[in-house]
């Protein structure tokens, strides 16, 4: 057992080594190693199908056939004690369409902490409604909301109970620029004011600039990790997008040389 009190800030929120996930007979993640520091926003970027969602599911503990080391908040991923400490938003909004927004939140709040007093739970629900700017829609059926609103309900569920780690799978897909800006402000305030750790995936490269740290993924492997400006400097690119493309080309070239020398 690790000694938390002596080294809480240094210990990363997520630490992976030789992380491999197999789906069917196909490896989706191939021996990844990376860390997600605490209290920061880590962006997980890469093209669709590169394994971002699988990686997030592994961190949350819902992915089967995971091998290698994966420690989350000092415990092996999927440990029962982590279930109240992680907030998870799947790509498709996972809420009940035939319940109102408030009924959805009330239910998930009751599952999360049934021991909490009713008043505290209501307060928690009001707080997350305000966080995602849906207070005015609290009594609408989730199924009648627009796609963007529904995905914010899903995000609100993940914010219940102030989790230490938030795993958000493409939370800004399909949102207009104003909402996207507001959500990124929320993410920053969660990290900076409440000390939460965020792991946010996206395939939109312009969102990369808003993260403290990036994990660039391609075809089940981590191409690079570091701060956005560090990645830009390293590759001599103006934007993260160009940096990403250069890294992809480098990796492809390296693979070709390896093949020809073999």
């Amino acid at each position: 057992m690790m000694n938390y009190s002596s080294r809480p800030p240094e210990e990363p929120a997520v630490h992976a080594q030789d992380l491999t996930v197999v789906r069917g007979s196909r490896p989706v993640l191939r021996g990844l190693g990376f860390t997600v520091p605490r209290g920061r926003i880590t962006g997980l970027l890469g093209p669709s199908g590169c394994g971002k969602s699988t990686l997030m599911r592994a961190v949350v503990g819902t992915q089967a056939k995971v091998t290698g080391t994966l420690d989350v908040l000092g415990r092996p991923a999927g440990h029962p004690s982590l279930r109240t400490r992680i907030g998870y938003v799947t790509q498709a909004p996972s809420v009940y369409g035939d319940l109102t927004v408030r009924q959805n939140l009330d239910y998930f709040a009751a599952i999360l902490d049934p021991g909490k007093a009713g008043a505290d739970r209501r307060h928690d629900v009001e707080r997350v409604l305000a966080d995602v700017d849906l207070t005015g829609h609290a009594d609408s059926l989730a199924g009648t909301l627009s796609g963007g609103q529904r995905s914010r309900v899903s995000l609100a569920v993940a914010l219940l109970g102030t989790p230490e780690l938030l795993v958000l799978d493409e939370p800004t897909v399909g949102l207009d620029p104003v909402l996207r800006r507001d959500l990124w402000q929320l993410f920053h305030s969660l990290a900076e004011d409440r000390g939460a750790t965020l792991l946010v995936s996206s395939h939109v490269m312009d969102e990369a600039e808003r993260c403290h740290r990036l994990l660039l993924m391609r075809a089940g492997e981590v191409l690079a990790e570091g701060a956005p400006e560090a990645l830009r400097t390293r590759t001599g690119a103006d934007t993260v997008e160009t940096a990403f493309l250069r890294l992809v080309d480098e990796a492809a070239a390296a693979a070709r040389t390896e093949e020809s020398t073999r």
Partner: protein, 251 residues
């Protein structure tokens, strides 16, 4: 991990309340669930207008079959939706035990089944002159156990259905053979011995037998106790197997 097996009462009741709340937003389904059995019984009463005895046996059997079929359909679709919408994955990533979820569903649909059966039994006994020698309360008890069996079977098959289309097709696959062999159309001992042996292994046969025991006997018979024990045992067994189909980690 020991806590995962134990039931948490507040989480179970929260789940049951949530399922009922979902139903409340769907009044048409509630109306169909509650009224269709009554309309069928009413229809049947006048189909057998000339032979009240036939209505007695078939009517009593149907009081046991309706809750089983309704709850089977509702549960298989509801849990399939839970699996496909991602809410199941979310719940299992939260501190919810599988038992809490299943017991919550059983509690909610059991409550609906009580209302449905009370309406159907009341209509049959008081308005359609269904001639029951035993207590109508026992009819209600059997109906409730049948509903739980339906919930259990629905939950179980939802694990094998990839879409609502497939889930609905499990109805003829799972329910119809039992319907044919349960003694509704012909007494079970008059069937071909092979079919009789198969019907001995199907839970719906015991549901119908139990109803007929109440129909014919004033007091609790040993056959009745055996029948309801088999139905309850099957429901419990299928619920446990159903729980095993809920996986926290999926591919």
């Amino acid at each position: 991990m020991t806590a995962a097996g134990a039931l948490s009462l507040p989480r179970t009741t929260a789940t049951a309340a949530r399922v009922l709340r979902q139903l409340r937003h769907d009044p048409r389904t509630i109306a169909l669930m509650l009224l269709v059995p009554c309309v069928m019984l009413f229809l049947l009463r006048y189909v057998f207008d000339a032979s009240a005895r036939t209505f007695d046996t078939i009517g009593a059997s149907l009081l046991g079959i309706f809750p089983l079929i309704t709850m089977f359909l509702v549960t298989s679709i509801a849990t399939l939706r839970e699996r496909t919408s991602g809410t199941l994955e979310r719940l299992l990533a939260m501190p919810l035990g599988k038992g809490d979820l299943i017991a919550g569903y059983a509690l909610a649909f059991g409550a609906v089944a009580v209302v449905q059966s009370a309406l159907a039994t009341g209509l049959a006994v008081w308005f359609l002159d269904l001639d029951v020698i035993g207590s109508p309360w026992l009819l209600l008890l059997v109906a409730l156990l049948d509903a739980l069996l339906g919930t259990a079977l629905g939950l179980f098959v939802s694990a094998f259905a990839a879409s609502e289309f497939q889930a609905v097709q499990f109805m003829p696959a799972v329910i119809f053979p039992q319907l044919l062999l349960c003694g509704l159309f012909t007494p079970r001992d008059a069937m071909h011995p092979v079919l009789e042996a198969i019907s001995d292994a199907l839970p719906m046969s015991y549901a119908v037998d139990a109803m007929n025991e109440v129909l014919r006997h004033a007091d609790l018979t040993t056959a009745f106790v055996r029948d309801i024990t088999v139905v309850a045992g099957c429901a419990l067994l299928v619920l446990i197997v159903g729980a095993a189909t809920l996986k926290r980690r999926t591919a």
